[in-house]
């Protein structure tokens, strides 16, 4: 039984093209059978002779500059949106975002309610003062007249 496997490196990786192709023939009775001590030496010799010589493509430099130019032409928010999209794909991050929205809403709501409550409290106090002190009410009336003159 004979099995043939082709070990081919990636065709193109970050601009480098690796042209070396190694074909190893696995044959239980063949000369490259590692279990066969007679042929182990031959396999070792072949492996030692094997050299990978990366071939830099002719347009490598141009392509690098092209990529740099393309990156620079991208809008400045693109990395941010890309990061957000990446985060949105993770359920935990999405849940954290929603919970942050809830927490922010609670905090702002509480703060605004306190401000509104203080103002309402001040108005009620004013009303009480007017109800027991006619002079206070009169001062308000005079202030109202002054404002209308202005």
């Amino acid at each position: 039984m004979s099995e043939s496997r082709s070990l081919e490196p990636e065709k193109k990786s970050e601009g480098f093209r690796q042209g070396a192709v190694l074909t190893v023939t696995m044959n239980a009775r063949g000369p490259d059978d590692p279990a066969d001590p007679e042929h182990a030496g031959e396999l070792s010799r072949k492996l030692q002779e094997w050299r990978v010589e990366p071939v830099i493509p002719a347009d490598f430099q141009r392509e690098v500059w092209h990529r740099i130019a393309a990156r620079q032409a991208e809008p400045f928010w693109r990395p941010l949106t890309a990061w957000l999209e990446g985060m949105a794909a993770r359920p935990a991050a999405a849940m954290a975002f929603v919970l942050t929205g809830v927490a922010a809403g609670l905090m702002v709501g509480r703060e605004k309610a306190q401000v509104a409550a203080v103002e309402s409290w001040r108005v009620l106090e004013e009303r009480y003062a007017h109800s027991v002190n006619p002079a206070s009410r009169h001062v308000d009336y005079v202030n109202h007249l002054n404002h209308s003159v202005e």
Binding site: T81, L84, E85, A88, A89, A94, F97, V98, L99, T100, G101, V102, A103, A104, G105, L106, V108, G109, R110, K112, A113, Q114, A116, A117, V118, S120, W121, R122, V123, L124, E125, E126, R127, Y128, A129, H130, S131, V132, N133, P134, A135, S136, R137, H138, V139, D140, Y141, V142, N143
Partner: protein, 158 residues
């Protein structure tokens, strides 16, 4: 991108809903007091921690004082308006204007006396600590109503 937009929208809705709920809940006690017919008395009850007996006594005092207060307000307004007309009519201190100014002063004094009398009566029904705080607030408002009208009861502590 759609997923991101959906999550942003969901977060925004969650924030708005939690804001609304928190705002309404936190403001509910104040809104409840302000919506009552005797809101100013309810404010007094809440601000000075009055129990039912104290509140009933003070409420009676308040309702007894209200007609006198209203009558005095009308008198004050009438006298001040007369003085104002006289000042407009003549740029001199005429005997009529002099008389009107005296009436203004007299009414101011009477008003202070009446209001202080009422404030002392109200404070007498409160606990000593709260009564003292109430009087500090009212003294300021009665003696110089135009100056300290912005002073809040919450600012007068101990």
């Amino acid at each position: 991108m759609k997923r991101l937009a959906a999550i942003l929208l969901l977060g925004l809705i969650a924030a708005c809903v939690s804001f609304g709920v928190c705002y309404r809940l936190a403001l509910a006690p104040t809104v409840e007091i302000a919506s009552k017919s005797d809101a100013e008395l309810e404010w007094l009850r809440s601000e000075f921690h009055l129990d039912a007996t104290q509140f009933a006594a003070i409420q009676k005092l308040h309702h007894d004082h209200a007609p006198r207060c209203e009558q005095m307000y009308r008198r004050i307004r009438s006298v001040y308006e007369r003085a104002d007309h006289l000042m407009e009519a003549s740029h001199q201190v005429t005997p009529e204007l002099d008389q009107a100014l005296k009436e203004c002063s007299h009414l101011d004094d009477e008003c202070r006396r009446e209001s202080l009398r009422h404030a002392f009566a109200v404070a007498a029904h409160m606990s000593p600590k709260e009564g003292d705080r109430y009087l500090r607030l009212m003294r300021a408002r009665i003696m110089e109503p135009g100056v300290v009208r912005h002073v809040a009861a919450a600012q007068i502590r101990r």
